[in-house]
């Protein structure tokens, strides 16, 4: 029995507006602790929405989410904010660093939010993470002076600084050139392997997805394919990912 860190049951999401748009339909998903899980699918399939729901940023319309065995009931936004701060790191396509702060300060922001001025130990740890990620050299630089790849690395350091249980990444390489994209990806899977942090990544790049331990494919808001790469084997997984046919379960 695998150790599940996050599980969703019958998760549905509808955007209400002039025309109601159902985006997710009864998603059941399990995120294995310490594993790299990829969410793939064509644009508009609901990958990002699913990621935001799982990351407790966007409340689902129906269904439930269980985090570490605890059911996340309808908590108020502030409780959810504190929960995210302590347990979840995010890396977005557009790195979303704060231009008011330098790289090092950006990395430390989640610690500030958690408990005010970070302790020396926390600062040292942040610096260690930055060194590991290769951004310590420009820690004092303003973020807008950094290249896209460097900015994304800083964002990764920020996502990791609180040692979260889960890191959600939404197309983290989508905005980068091929070279830096590959480097960032390399780094993320390395970090995932080194630590017990579970990584959930949305990508439309099948090549990227093949680095993952588990692959979910979404089409039209439903999971149409699930692959446990360890079980199926790399070659079979590759074939399955390349196969465009989809069976909605």
């Amino acid at each position: 029995m695998a150790d599940i860190v996050l599980r969703s049951r019958d998760l549905s999401k509808t955007f209400f507006g002039k025309v109601d748009t159902p985006v997710l339909h009864g998603i059941n998903i399990e995120i294995v602790r310490g594993a790299f899980t990829a969410l793939i699918g064509p644009s508009g399939s609901g990958k990002s929405t699913l990621l935001n729901c799982l990351g407790l940023l966007d409340p689902p319309t129906a269904g439930e989410i269980e985090f570490d065995g605890r059911l996340i009931r309808e908590r108020n936004v502030n409780e959810l904010a504190a929960f995210r701060n302590a347990n979840i790191g995010f890396v977005f396509q557009f790195h979303y660093l704060l231009p008011e702060f330098n790289a090092y300060e950006n990395v430390l922001l989640p610690c500030w939010i958690r408990g005010g001025k970070p302790a020396v130990e926390t600062r040292r740890e942040a610096l260690r993470i930055m060194e590991r990620i290769g951004v310590a050299a420009f820690k004092d630089k303003a973020v807008y002076e950094l290249s896209g790849g460097q900015q994304q690395r800083v964002a990764i350091a920020r996502a990791l600084v609180q040692k979260p249980k889960l890191v959600f990444a939404d197309e983290p390489t989508g905005n980068l050139d091929r070279e830096s994209g590959r480097a960032v990806l390399e780094l993320m899977s390395e970090l995932n392997r080194e630590s017990n942090i579970s990584l959930v990544m949305v990508t439309h790049d099948r090549e990227v997805a093949l680095r993952a331990d588990h692959i979910y494919e979404l089409v039209d808001g439903r999971i149409c394919k699930y692959l446990d790469v360890a079980k199926t084997g790399k070659a079979a997984a590759e074939a399955a990912v390349e196969d465009r046919s989809c069976t909605i379960k």
């Binding site: 966007d58 995210r84 302590a86 396509q93």
Partner: protein
């Protein structure tokens, strides 16, 4: 923990302000000018009012106990039977207070009252050679009577003593009749009786009316004008604006006299002062309104500009309350820095005004004139920042993340 959490909101607020340096500087200057104008205006007007009131009541009684019913009675031909007696006020029994000691004692015992003294008044003529000049004669009792009119402080030559033949003259009379200390002259009453007096001292009260006075000892005036009691009991109070209330209070107690305060005699001045205060308050009100609007609009724009940052902070765990506090804190910082700068600017303006125009009055720098603009500016800043603060609280992180 709590204080530590607040510190990150302060830190982010500071960074937001420093990042938009030009904008911050403009709004701080805006607040500073507003506070400076407020401080300058209220200090100037208070200073002017203090000096006006000091000029009006500084050297005159604040409260007068007068004989009841002292209406000017138009007389027929006077004792001399001459026509010029028509229209003159008859000295009547009712123009005197007989049991005046009681009133003096009562007033002196009241801690709100600085000094009280009886006075005997008359109108007479100074004769010197062929020159005749009409003067107001006051019979005073030292020291209280002299101090109500500040004669002792304002004596420019001679000695301010009220001995039997000594007369203290206002500067204007002395100049007009070329009288110097030691000179002698006749003082005639309205019935033609004369006394021979010596100039003991000359005083300068500044105001025109005061310098037309001749002050004698009260007993001298009483005998010259055949007053058996006194004309009035006069008093000065500690808080000049309390005079009317105190006068009314004693007026209810005493039946045979009436009480008048300086306010009743200076309605026009008071109306003038009041409308001055009203216009100053009106201007200050609109200054506050414009400060508030400026802060609200600048921070409102900032809240829109910082949506991305707020969204990401919230995704990382910042609460709605923290997000709104970041804007309230910006308001407090803007208001605080702006008002301190404004006060410095206001003091500079005040100094420039006093030095530049040689104004005969100073600025009234008191806790009220200093702190009111600061408190109001801070309050305006906080109130104005609640608008962007609410917007910041309501912002959903997912909106920002979804829309890139």
């Amino acid at each position: 923990m709590k204080a530590g959490k607040n510190r990150y909101e302060w830190m982010i607020a500071m960074r937001f302000l420093l990042r938009g340096r030009g904008q911050t500087l403009l709004i701080v200057l805006g607040i500073a000018v507003g506070v400076a104008v407020q401080f300058f205006l209220s200090a100037l007007i208070s200073g002017l009012q203090v000096s006006l009131i000091e000029n009006t009541v500084g050297s005159s009684p604040h409260i007068q106990v007068l004989p009841a019913d002292r209406l000017p009675v138009r007389a027929g031909p006077g004792v001399s039977g001459q026509n010029r007696d028509y229209g003159r006020v008859l000295i009547d029994e009712r123009t005197e207070i007989h049991s005046w000691q009681q009133y003096v004692n009562d007033l002196k015992r009241d801690p709100r009252i600085l000094r009280a003294a009886p006075v005997a008044n008359g109108q007479g003529f100074i004769e010197r050679g062929s020159a005749v000049d009409a003067v107001v004669v006051k019979g005073l009792v030292a020291p209280g009577g002299l101090d109500i009119y500040k004669i002792r402080d304002k004596t420019v030559s001679g000695i301010p003593e009220l001995t039997s033949d000594n007369a203290l003259l206002g500067r204007r009379i002395a100049e007009r009749l070329t009288l110097a200390v030691g000179d002698k002259f006749f003082l005639r009453n309205d019935r033609g009786d004369r006394v021979f007096l010596r100039v003991g001292g000359i005083f300068d009260l500044g105001a025109a009316a005061g310098n037309e006075l001749v002050a004698l000892s009260m007993d001298r005036v009483r005998s010259l004008f055949a007053i058996s009691g006194v004309s009035a009991v006069e008093a000065q109070v500690r808080d000049v604006f309390a005079a009317e209330a105190i006068a009314r209070e004693y007026g209810r107690q005493y039946e045979r006299v009436k009480l008048e305060s300086w306010q009743e005699k200076n309605r026009e001045l008071l109306t003038g002062l009041r409308s001055q205060s009203t216009s100053s308050v009106t201007i200050q009100f609109f200054v506050i309104v414009s400060i508030s609007l400026a802060i609200a609009s600048v921070l409102g724009i900032a809240a829109v500009q910082k949506q991305r940052q707020l969204g990401i902070l919230k995704a990382m765990g910042a609460t709605d309350r923290s997000a709104s506090r970041i804007f309230i804190i910006q308001g407090v910082i803007l208001g605080g820095v702006g008002s301190v700068l404004g006060l410095a600017l206001g003091l500079l303006m005040g100094w420039g005004f006093v030095v530049g125009t040689g104004a005969p009055f100073g600025l009234e720098i008191s806790a009220r004139t200093l702190f009111t603009p600061i408190v109001l500016a801070l309050l305006a800043a906080v109130v104005a920042s609640t608008v962007p603060a609410r917007r910041a609280a309501q912002l959903s992180p997912i909106e920002v993340i979804r829309n890139g």
